[in-house]
């Protein structure tokens, strides 16, 4: 009887320690993700404003121009050369400026181009699916037919951009190892989301307070709904508060809600968790400053009461959050990207 020799089984471990990540790659990963998130917010703000125009355009022209102006304020963007104040086609000018202007650091075109430039430098770190989605998104705004598609239907145009951005984020979740590379995209995405959400609350609150006296209830409701829409939160909010619409409820929902991925608190928690995992992977035991900042903020939001928010005043409350998050962003750069 002959013995059958078994093939030799190669020895290797299923659980290999994850590979260190190049600092420059981490940097690019971070900014790709951040610019994509930013593009989504800009597109949504512009879309909501365009719809608002249809709803209240004739009722309150002054309010409307404040809303257009607020897009610039929220994105911390200088107005286009020559200003926009008082011109008849102000809405269209700001929309164009925030969509196609190459010299505007926060225009959709710039955000998507920068996201792509960053991704191009780390092609080998992202999946083919992610790259193709980003590239398709880029050509949808950079291609020769983009302006004409925009003229035809700004609504469709912005929706396409938002879906494109969300598709990219979905692919990031589903096609990338959830290692450092993914973790850095999460940190970036949530930091950007916290920042923009806080700015939306702050800016819109100021506008609505200043004109509060002259507004009837219906108009006010429309305004606050627009705020929620700008944060992609209208449906979730309705389920929570069954249609009750007041500034404090809206603000506390957007800032303190525990399980809603668009709320500040949720985003702070996720960013902190991602940073914590990055620290574990890079074998540091000492908590780094960014994580400490976010950890404290997380605790503060976790135990906050609506009355605290009220006492401090909504704008001040969210300003403080912005400051801490900005500092955390700088600390991440210092700790991981600067080499």
């Amino acid at each position: 009887m002959s013995t059958i020799s078994l093939p030799a089984i190669p020895k290797f471990s299923v659980h290999v320690p994850s590979r260190p990540m190049m600092a420059r790659d981490a940097d690019s990963m971070f900014w790709t993700s951040r610019y994509i998130e930013r593009a989504e917010h800009v597109a949504r703000l512009l879309l909501v404003n365009a719809n608002l125009l249809i709803d209240v355009g004739d009722l309150a022209p002054k309010l409307l121009s404040q809303h257009w102006q607020s897009v610039l304020t929220i994105m911390r963007t200088e107005p286009p050369a020559g200003g926009v104040e008082g011109t008849k086609d102000m809405g269209a000018r700001i929309a164009h400026y925030m969509t196609f202007d190459r010299d505007n650091a926060n225009s959709l075109l710039t955000c998507v181009s920068r996201a792509r430039e960053n991704a191009r430098g780390i092609r080998e770190n992202i999946s083919a699916e992610m790259w193709e989605a980003l590239n398709t998104l880029y050509w949808s705004i950079r291609g020769d037919d983009a302006p004409s598609r925009f003229e035809e239907s700004p609504d469709d145009f912005y929706r396409q951009l938002m879906t494109g951005s969300m598709l990219f984020q979905g692919l990031t979740d589903q096609t990338l190892d959830h290692d450092q590379r993914w973790l850095f995209t999460q940190v970036a995405k949530y930091l950007e989301r916290i920042d923009v959400t806080c700015r939306v609350i702050e800016t819109k609150y100021n506008i609505l307070q200043s004109g509060a006296g002259q507004m009837d209830a219906a108009l006010k409701n429309i305004q606050w709904m627009a705020v929620l829409r700008s944060c992609c939160s209208i449906e979730a909010y309705r389920r929570h508060h069954l249609g009750e619409m007041d500034p404090l409820r809206v603000a506390t929902f957007l800032v303190l809600e525990r399980n809603f991925p668009r709320s500040v608190r949720y985003a702070v928690g996720m960013a902190r968790e991602a940073l914590c995992s990055i620290r574990n992977e890079t074998s540091g035991l000492a908590i780094d400053p960014a994580e400490r900042l976010l950890g404290r903020l997380n605790a503060q939001l976790e135990y906050a009461e609506p009355s605290e928010v009220m006492k401090e005043g909504i704008p001040t409350y969210v300003q403080k959050i912005q400051a801490q998050v900005a500092e955390a962003g700088l600390e991440v750069q210092k700790r991981y990207f600067l080499y």
């Binding site: 260190p20 990540m21 190049m22 600092a23 420059r24 790659d25 981490a26 430039e117 191009r120 430098g121 780390i122 092609r123 080998e124 083919a128 790259w131 193709e132 590239n135 398709t136 050509w139 450092q180 990055i278 992977e281 890079t282 074998s283 991981y336 080499y339």
Partner: protein, 478 residues
Amino acid sequence: MFDQYEADGLFDEMFEAPGRPRPHYSAVASRLKSLGPAAFNKRVRMADVTFRNQGITFTVYNDQRGVEKIFPFDLMPRIVPANEWDIIERGLVQRITALNLFCQDIYHDQRILRENVVPPELIYGAKMFRREMFHVNVPRNIYIHICGTDLVRDKNGTYLVLEDNGRTPSGVSYVLENRSVMKRVFPSLFGAYHVRAIEDYPYNLLQCLKHVTPQRSDDPSIAVLTPGIYNSAYFEHSFLARQMGVELVEARDLIVDNAYVYMRTTAGLRRVDVIYRRVDDDFLDPLCFRSESILGVAGLMNAYRCGNVALVNAPGTGVADDKAIYPFVPDMIKFYMGQDAILPNVKTYICARESDRKYVLENLDKLVVKSTNESGGYGMLMGHQATNEERQIFAGKIMEDPRNFIAQPVVELSQHPSFIDDRFQGRRIDLRPYILYGEKVIVMPGGLTRVALRSGSLVVNSSQGGGSKDTWVLEEEQ
């Protein structure tokens, strides 16, 4: 679709006589005839969109923004039958072996110079001769790990070697992407043939890189070194890194400490064992080569000389693909291997030789003059197409620096049908196969077929308006 197709007295890859395709093209011909121009054009557009969305582009800087262009892709495949490929393959294996022996010899004992096979002044006068490499023992004695050798066919259909690219040959990513796009838009065309697969190239390249790891380790750390995203071949650098699953680094990501190379990571420094570098010798190490360069990694050559890192290809291989050394490759094959060259060279006049120079200057209108150290179709004179004035200028240049020039008779490249303006027209082509020298020599069955898309043009370089085709090497018939 082939009704008005003409051969113009050239060697045609597809047709042996008007209307009669060669046997290995007959299946493609009948399939395309039934397809019609509209359906073919639709597939051309499908291919273009795929290339654009996948970002398979190169950048042309004619304005501030930089315009991204698709490398023009000609959907009509070029087919090489098994018996022809057999000769090419054996010829290329022989050639890369000889070129490596030559580099090893030139940087050590220089037997070939002592025995007067190659004139020493040509070596010492070569811009790419690196004194820094003298008596450096390179890992596994391999200098040229990756070689791209350009082949053309003359009027009789004989394959000739036009030049070797033994420094950092590019284009292989387009070969792989062309094939994948071709499979996407023309799957039915593959049905009639047994086309040899090329998809294992990245795997073979990785094995080739692992083979030269300095420390015998199961898990060597390998990186592709790129000049950065603004380099015209950046797509390829990132493509190869991704396909192999290794890091893509720029010089600023690397640092040399105590003669070891490290890359900067989020968790500190990590050692690098093998660098597939896609930057020129000049920009590798400012301490060794160009001191004014801010590119490069200071101390890299020192780490290399200490045997702590492998560079692929080795520095100094430019001495082997210098155009004035090229005429001696058949002699090298004879000298080192005792064999006759399987693939012939194109007749070449070396302007540094007095008799040759005299002939070149007298016959400028019949010759192609090339600068010995340029590539990409730059620094060339197509004598028969040039004006008298252009020839005069070139004659001046040759007399000023004869070492820098060679001349060759015009090779009437073979032509191949390309789909242009709704019908097939003949266009000149060449072929660049890729050869890997690792544990054994592997020739990729296929290569980059470049097409001169302008009618009558002999220049196939992408920087000069060339395109490319998928290249099918067929399996041996059973």
